[in-house]
Amino acid sequence: MLTQPGSNAPPKDMPGEPAVLALHEVTKTFPGVKALSEVSLSLYPGKVTALIGENGAGKSTVVKILTGIYQPNGGNILVDGKPTPFPVPQAAANNGVTAIHQETVLFDELSVAENIFLGHAPHNALGLIDLKTMTEKARALLESIGANIDPDHKLKDLGIANKHLVAIARALSIDARVVIMDEPTAALSHKEIEELYDLVESLKAQGKAILFISHKFDEIFRIADNYTVFRDGQLIGDGAIADVSEADLVKMMVGRDVSQIFPERTPNVGDAVLSVQGYAHPTEFDDISFTLRKGEILGFYGLVGAGRSEFMQSLFGITRPSAGAVEIDGTPVEIKSPADAVNNGIVYVPEDRGKQGAVLDLPIFQNITLPSLGRISNNGFLRLAEEFKLAREYAERLDLRAASLDTHVGNLSGGNQQKVVIAKWLATHPKVIILDEPTKGVDIGSKAAVHDFMAELAAQGLAIVMVSSEIPEVLGMSDRVIVMREGRIVAELADHELEPETLVRHAAGI
């Protein structure tokens, strides 16, 4: 049914046309890490190949090798079957390989046309960039993907969705035979995703080979023809998507059967801890009101960009609201900064762990004690023994896996980094903990641990707000769910009303 794990067989040609682009037994090592180990991958004209794997499986390394940013340590890139090195990004482009990257990687200060043609702009007889031709070509390209964007505008004047279209136009601006799409739907709305699917179909019809990287199974089954699964830098299996089930893919991805099981809980909801009235911001959210009780897990569901994180960060004192009131245990409090929030017992585990959650270049123990320095010091002077004691207490409570407490947080896995961030906040004895996408970028094994721990905290009487875009997580963990759309609360659903269809309907406004 599946090829053997770590198969060394050369990419076997599928019936029909031969692969336009393939990796043959490619290995890539970084100091101390083997990111890819003799992996093979084949892309065929007019076919969408889904590359599937958990975070850290080696997907982005593959993208960087195929676009000439990384050089493999072993193995070959095959273009039409011939070994072809891509020593610089330009070489990949010259061989017709183009990529739409995960983050929209473009240039705010340049015009739309320049963004599309940077590095391969048309030149005139004098060797100067031919602005007129470039603008015309850009206009035609944008029209061909149905984007109504003026190529003369500076990119910074565009919205997120339009920037994404520019990125796609850029990818198509070279005469591409292979288009790599790295989680292209991550930042898009429902409608925009549908438009992207249409675009993928039209690229297929033009005979282009597409590598589609995604972790959303619904979209993989909808648009992919073939699949390739990586785990821990190794090829686990590949074949036609018609031959596998979702369960098969999940099994290949994680190496065992995982039916996502959420902890059994008997909610023990107490008095109101947090009450928010009429929170508003000029551009991000409006009229947010709700009450949170002791021992409750309140889910916040919505599409990406619904304003959930923006509201949570405002509640945590990062941005100032234009209106609104907060009460903790019935007492009005004013939160002007994160320090105020922490002092009032509100803490926030952000989605962006590397930038906001942890200080990656500081050791674990210093991260854990950072908001609690007052408790481990004497008149402002640090007491190192106390510091290690506090750090160890919470590291063990969260079952942190690390070589030592002075290991830098940046050297830990995503799951363990998340544990450090949670430990940091628990050490402050909070009343309310806000978890923003708590299991994003966390491997499946650690996900269950995070969920178990959330349940345990709720059972101990902590009030939890969980922002999540994963429907199973929202359904499996929440006692109550608030749905946000375009910066406003559009629904509040009690436990017995929680159905996937209901959530999606409210979130998408259909």
Binding site: S337, A339, P350, D399
Partner: protein
Amino acid sequence: MSTTERLIPDRLRSPMEQKLKSWETLLLLVAIAIFVANSFASPYFLNAWNLSDATFNFTEKAMIAFAMALLIISGEIDLSVASIIALASTAMGAAVQMGVGTPGLVLIGLGVGVLCGAFNGLLVTRMGLPSIVVTIGTMSLFRGISFIVLGDQAFRGYPASFSWFGQGYVWWVISFEFVLFAIIAVIYAVLLHKTNFGRAVYAIGNNATGAMFSGIRVNRVKFILFLLTGLMSGVAAVCLTARLGSTRPSIATGWELEVVTMVVLGGVSILGGSGTIIGVVIAAFVMGLVTFGLGLLNVPGIVMSIVIGALLIGVIALPRLWSMWRAD
């Protein structure tokens, strides 16, 4: 709580081992080598009074360098320090003309320093402006005010009791300035390495957003660091003015670069996040010894600056070249 007791060790390498392999140790070896080389190169080097004189080459700059080290570790920089000296010195000079006595002069010098630091700090933390540009601006502004006040004139006539701050000796060859330098070094070492405040400085320098999201009052810490840098510039202004006995608007020209060089040479990352006070202390001695040693050999000051410049680039470039060479 996990049932199996699975203790994570506090550390894998002992603090002593880490220290031995540090930048500071390497720098100390350089300092010793220069000391030995100097004592061979010139018979006048190993003389207590000569060595004591040599400390004046770096004590005033080092006082500023300690505060600057904290500021650079936090990810900011203050290029206006030498101009703060000029302005503080000018203010003291003007006060002398009005008959202010020594205690008043010291207060004015320190006060102007703090005010200038507050001005920089407000522009950076309140208005969110990049410190390198702000302080290039205030560098011109502060010294510019001195020029407006003094033109091509000078203030003189400082009282004799005032000159003790720059010329006085506490005991035998130990000058007041050297004692002050040592005390300030200890204060800053404790502040950076042993207090909550110092920990916040490191956290901010490594990841200011992450520190803010951890409840650290980032802007308040940065503002205090600008105040401290201004204050130390005021202290240096008192010492330098007392030592020279006069104020010209060109006083301490170019010191900002020497102070930054001292800090970077001391192992503080110009990108923020790491560095120690002991490193800066050793770097101060290295720069003082190089200047003094070359001076004894009658090498002109401008040539010494080549050595200092080469040292600045070399100490960063050589380890990188070495690791590149080993990687090949």
